[in-house]
């Protein structure tokens, strides 16, 4: 093998090792970022589940409140309707 090829191989080795080192540090940075994103994902997951639970609770609460106030609401609409009926005679 000629000295030129040997030098080329040596340069190639140095280049590969240099690139590998650079990529290794890049990977480390990406992994760090990914870990942060994973933590955020875990937080989102928990928030999503909490929201789901809260939505179910609120839907139930709304049903209960609607049932409890059905009479009052009906009465409210009666007065609204009675006002509409006499309003034209006031102008």
């Amino acid at each position: 093998m000629t000295g030129v090829i040997q030098k080329f191989l040596l340069l190639l080795t140095i280049l590969c090792l240099g690139l590998s080192a650079w990529l290794f540090f890049q990977t480390t940075a990406v992994v760090k970022e990914t870990d942060a994103l994973r933590a955020q994902a875990a937080e989102y997951q928990e928030r999503y589940q909490n929201n789901e639970q809260q939505l179910q609770d609120l839907q139930q609460q709304l049903k209960d409140v609607e049932a409890a106030n059905a009479g009052a609401l009906k009465e409210y609409r009666i007065w609204e309707h009675e006002i509409e009926k006499i309003e034209p005679y006031l102008h």
């Binding site: 590998s20 990977t27 990406v30 994902a41 989102y44 928030r47 939505l55 609120l58 007065w79 006499i86």
Partner: protein, 301 residues
Amino acid sequence: MGTRDRENRAVSALTCLAAVIGIATLLFVYQGYHRSLNEQAELRQWLTGTEESLGVQEEQIAALNGEIGSYADVAEKNRQERELFYAKAKELETKVLNGESDVKIAYLTFDDGPYWDTTHIFLDILDEYDIKATFFYLLKEDHDDIYQRVIDSGHTLANHSASHNLYGNAIYASVDTFIGEVEENRQFIQDKFGYTTNILRFPGGSPQARDLKWPIVERLREIGYGYVDWDTTTGDGKNSGTVEEYIHGVLDVSADYDVMVVLMHDYSVNTYKALPTIINGLKEQGFIFLPLFYESDKILK
């Protein structure tokens, strides 16, 4: 082979090996880098999607909270709307009484109920015509459904004493006896239905109280009550007239009034038979129908 050649070969072998190791390392590290990037891209995509879902969820939560919150003061809103209606009814009544309106007002009133067999028929007719009236009721146990329907339908529920005992004018034995009856019935309606009455019709009408009328009116004022008699009636008090007589009893005199209180009884079969004709006749004469309210000029205080 000389020593130099052997050294040269060894160096060549080493440089080849180093190059292979270098390339292998690069490939290996690149693979890891690539995998990490892919993983991160997938995670970012998931986060974006989840962020949108969270936004939708949180909007729904806010909407539900708002809807639930709107019920918090429904009783207060209801009270305000009822007060607004009374205020407008009063405004209209004043206009009519001052001759500033073409329309006339009829307050249909029904005494002595509730009755299991007939009251619902009256309520059905009033519903059909979309009319609110006033029911002067006594204290009757086991008639809860009827009291409740009167209240829920928006009619005025008013006090007609607890017993209506006119035998020997017993209910007017003294001011205290009479006021005791009024208070007993008021308490009954308040406790059972949460409804506050503040209008009274004397059993038999206020003249029936004779000398006690004005002392009773004074006491009624003290307990926050007003009273009303009537301008015209079907004449169904004895429950012996015909449908035609009841119709004429109202329609023959109604033209004389701009604001009129009509007395009827919800036990009378002929009255409910006459009621649609009475309503249509009054409408043709330009009357509209309102439930009585405390502030009305017709309620004497």
